[in-house]
């Protein structure tokens, strides 16, 4: 559904994406991994049209996304940092995004799932970081989209909310949704992802399933496999 062809992006002298091809597997959960500064967020933002690549092409269902905004109707995006206009109430924020998307929302079940009923009439500055992240999650999933892009979805969540989020993602996957997730929480990757892509210095270093990565690196868990890759790269660099 989403195809990326040789995109490059640099900020000043820093080359963040160094030209890679990648197509997102339909109806699967793909996890994007990589150390800080490897280009994960820039990749996501390029797909959403927030960052404009200097070279290459991004296609959604075969059509270029550049100078196009309609395709975003089909993408639910969970940003990394949940900060909203402080003086709006939670219910008003939900309504704002509903009006902006011009699409009926389906938020009641999600509000119950994340115990947000009592917060609906509170102003956003009164909420804790974790609660704001729950609101963020509701905003993302309250529309029925074929694709969901989640940037660090677990930040600030308590264990109960984390389990509920995982269940939600599984449920949506069974409904046939496509996911692109970045995270540093390895257990989440192990539990949820069908496919991994590992970014290193703006390029795809590894692409495959969890099992394939373990075999390739001869390790038993993901954290060690990744540490090994990074150590190898450090040796190469020096």
């Amino acid at each position: 559904m989403i195809e990326i062809k040789g995109i490059r992006k640099s900020f000043g002298k820093l080359d963040v994406l160094k030209g890679f091809d990648f197509s997102l597997a339909d109806r699967k959960i793909t996890a994007v991994l990589g150390p800080n500064g490897s280009g994960k967020t820039t990749l996501i933002k390029s797909i959403l049209g927030l960052v404009i690549p200097s070279h290459g092409e991004i296609l959604y269902k075969g059509t270029s996304i550049f100078n196009n905004w309609n395709y975003r109707k089909e993408i639910g995006y969970l940003p990394q940092i949940a900060r909203f206009p402080e003086n709006l109430r939670v219910s008003e924020l939900l309504k704002l995004i509903e009006e902006v998307r011009n699409e009926a929302r389906n938020s009641d079940e999600l509000i119950r799932r994340f115990d947000l009923e009592s917060y609906l009439h509170k102003k956003l500055y009164q909420l804790s970081g974790g609660t704001r992240q729950k609101v963020n999650i509701v905003l993302t999933f309250m529309f029925d989209c074929p694709v969901y892009i989640l940037d660090e979805p677990t930040s600030g969540l308590d264990p109960i909310a984390l389990i509920r989020l995982k269940d939600l993602i599984q449920y949506k996957k069974e409904e046939g949704k496509t996911f692109l997730i970045t995270t540093h929480i390895m257990t989440l990757v192990e539990e949820l992802s069908d496919e991994l892509i590992f970014l290193l210095e703006g390029q795809v270093y590894f692409r495959g399933t969890y099992g394939e990565l373990m075999t390739a690196e001869k390790e038993e868990n993901l954290e060690r496999a990744i540490a090994k890759i990074l150590e190898k790269e450090n040796v190469k660099d020096s």
Binding site: L48, L50, I52, W69, R72, A82, F84, P85, E86, V100
Partner: protein, 260 residues
Amino acid sequence: MLKILKYSFFDLIRSRWSIIYFIFYFISGFVLLYLSNDVSKAIVSLMNITLILTPLIGTLFGIMNFYNSREFIELLLAQPIPRKHIFLGMYSGISISLSLSLLLGMGIPFAFYGVFVSGQIMSLVSLLISGVFLTFIFTSISFYIALVNENKLKGFGVAILVWLFMVFIYDGIVLLLLIFFQDYPLEKLAIIISLLNPVDLSRILVMLKLDISALMGYTGAVFSKFFGNNTGMFISISALTVWAIVPTFFILKKSVKKDF
């Protein structure tokens, strides 16, 4: 765009700072009116406050609002709407809500005092118009500065410098120019100079309406002499409109290309 405008407006109008801003004008209006007991004098005093304060508040709110909404702007950018609508909506929302604080804060004391029967309603209107123009102009300039500068501190510094330059430094430079070149005919130059500064234009607009020649200053007097009061006012309003449109145009141009 209207949806973003509406929420940006409501977010700001409910903030403590909007209310403080309103109360400030409200109290100043009452105090100046009842102490001087003269609508013209109160308008002149309020004009001196407005010419400094509205650009400052527009600048501060524009720049702070943009930087504070960084993450929310990213969320909006990921929604199925054109970029232009987001920035136009936010900018108009801030400017309208600040203008409302100004209009009500000054309008209510004058209404109580009986400005409607004093025959000087148009002087008040000219003051309010210039205040609203300055709010829009400086909000858009600071919004543009915030768009261009990723670094908050630098953006803030540049915006304050622009305010300082327009409100204080510009007049000093003009005065020096006039002294240095006093042997030459300077009328046309003076007109061009005042067209280049929205704060000066606003002062001229209010002064032409009040028709107090002693307070017009050199540029005001030139405007009055060259164009007569009515054409002078028309020209200053037209120039202020251009001033409000140009930075908005730059905001739109920049917002389409920017990476977030």
